[in-house]
Symmetry: C2
């Protein structure tokens, strides 16, 4: 078996541009209202992988004549995408009342709900200001549609809470919305600012969508212990929040009547006791639901690779394909 | 003294266009996720004055060759502005934990914080989708800047909570942000889609800003009983939330040491008891702080009228001037 796929090749090819993107991000966090950079800086300093802006940058480099550095508009666009992502994280913190994200205390726990809502709104507004600087209304169209779809995905997820008999297709509609479409739009609009033609922009959209889906499927599988490694968020969060994810849907489908009683109690009724999370994992493992989740992720990775098979071979292309493999196989 | 100024002339001249705007609003609330129209519809059905879209429509009609009906782009723009306004209301409900708005139960009390945050985000995203349909990136620039300023105003207001010794200039910076700039951008961009030149767009910006400021100053004065009439929100909300508004700043400035102890206890320390609201109103009345607030509002109304003095006389112009007078004198 070859080395585990990693983000390192993508990090290497986008490294120089990403340091410019980081400057734009820090610059646009500034405000006369000092609480804003304090709070948003706390979140953005926590880091994360910056995968969305990296894909945006890489897509712009692949699509432009000059593969060595992205057009300036790509820097604004990449920062914009990261702002949208961070706005949704801030608003998720309100929603989930989670105390930890990426192993750090959440902004919400430190500053309260009001500040998280408002600073999220600020980042969202700034994201649109940054998009305007690309001077391309097509890009604003694609990203405003994506932004609406993100919230539709989150709201649909909320409306599915506690319903283990949900359909797999509903799960996919949730993850495409809440995760897939922002990856998709990041890559698609990145290609556009690099002067990619309509076919290439579409190819990057499909690539980003499938990669984002794989990423989210893995995230949801990891929450039931797909990996033994520490992942900076508490295992079992989805379980205690009664969030319906792929392992639960698959487990429900195969469960006996007694096991379904367990899911009914823990999810639909929301009556959870000590040891329930362990029992949930037992049923999930009994029916190989993690492995089968990983199969779904692998299939998305394949779609991502296929989508960009049309572009000529290059270090950038290899890095993008490995990034998709990483998203579907990561254990952290 | 002439009849009290009213919104009726503005309602009359924009009536036909506003029924088109309402269709756009209802149409764009649709989503495959049924909770969205349910929740947002609840808020939007509650109505309100629709003052922002009306100003947008009127400005576009004044600025275009054809005064009888606004260009189609104005309908999308007006709906967009109303969506932004409603998004901020939904997020305010989270922030203030208020149970009532416009005399109805808030969406938040009915559906919970999560839904308010997410549906607010949805409206915000849809607002940008609607703006894109004007096909004018200048408009997206102005409204994305306004959206960021709104949140800056709200965050500044939050950071001033409990500080009665705040400066009047800080109060103005808060109300310009949270209220003035959206009125300003609504009128300014309305003028732009009506092909108003740069001077006219600027005039409408100044008009909207001053009108919005007057509107907010009145709102804040009404909360301490500027009028005896029922205003569909609980009197004293600002007091119990320790929100720093103009009557409080003016009262603090004139207060004796004993009175300042009262403000310190009720605002900075936040220790409020039965009868405190009545005592606050007594001190406020002792130093004529409501009347002096109304003077500030009147001065803004004058600025609004002056700003559009350049445009030729017409029924529309008269309606706009009376709308500004209404904003600064309204008692409901």
């Amino acid at each position: 078996m070859p080395d585990e796929p990693s983000l390192n090749p993508l990090l290497a090819v986008t490294h120089q541009a990403m340091s410019e993107v980081n400057k734009v991000i820090l610059d646009r966090l500034q405000s006369n209202v000092s609480l804003i950079p304090q709070l948003a800086g706390h979140l953005i300093a926590a880091g994360g992988k910056r995968l969305r802006p990296m894909l945006c940058i890489a897509a712009s480099m692949v699509s432009s004549q000059n593969n060595k550095q992205p057009p300036n508009a790509a820097l604004y666009l990449a920062a914009s995408v990261e702002f949208i992502h961070n706005a949704t994280l801030l608003h998720d913190d309100v929603i989930d009342s989670s105390d930890q994200r990426r192993g750090k205390q959440t902004a919400n726990a430190l500053w309260g709900n009001e500040a998280s809502v408002l600073v999220g709104d600020f980042l969202f507004a700034r994201a649109f200001e940054l998009m305007v600087e690309t001077n391309d209304i097509w890009i604003l169209e694609k990203l405003s549609v994506a932004a609406a779809q993100i919230t539709e995905g989150e709201i649909k997820q909320m409306s599915m809470l506690g319903q283990p008999d949900s359909a797999i297709s509903d799960y996919f509609s949730v993850i495409e919305g809440k995760t897939g479409v922002l990856f998709a739009a990041a890559a698609q609009t990145g290609s556009k600012v690099g002067n990619g033609d309509s076919d290439l922009c579409n190819a990057f959209y499909d690539y980003g969508l499938a990669l984002g889906n794989a990423f989210q499927i893995m995230d949801d599988a990891l929450d039931y212990g797909a990996s033994e490694r520490q992942i900076g968020k508490d295992l079992g969060d989805d379980f205690s929040e009664m969030k319906i994810t792929l392992p639960i849907i698959l487990a429900w489908q195969d469960s006996s009547d007694t096991e379904r009683d367990f899911w009914e109690r823990t999810f639909r009724i929301g009556n959870q006791r000590d040891g329930d999370f362990e029992q949930a994992k037992e049923i999930i493992n009994k029916y190989s639901c993690i492995e089968r989740s990983l199969d779904f992720a692998t299939s998305e990775v394949q779609k991502a690779s296929n989508a960009i098979s049309v572009i000529p071979n290059s270090i950038l292309k290899d890095a993008l394909i490995e990034a998709a493999e990483f998203a579907g196989l990561r254990n952290s």
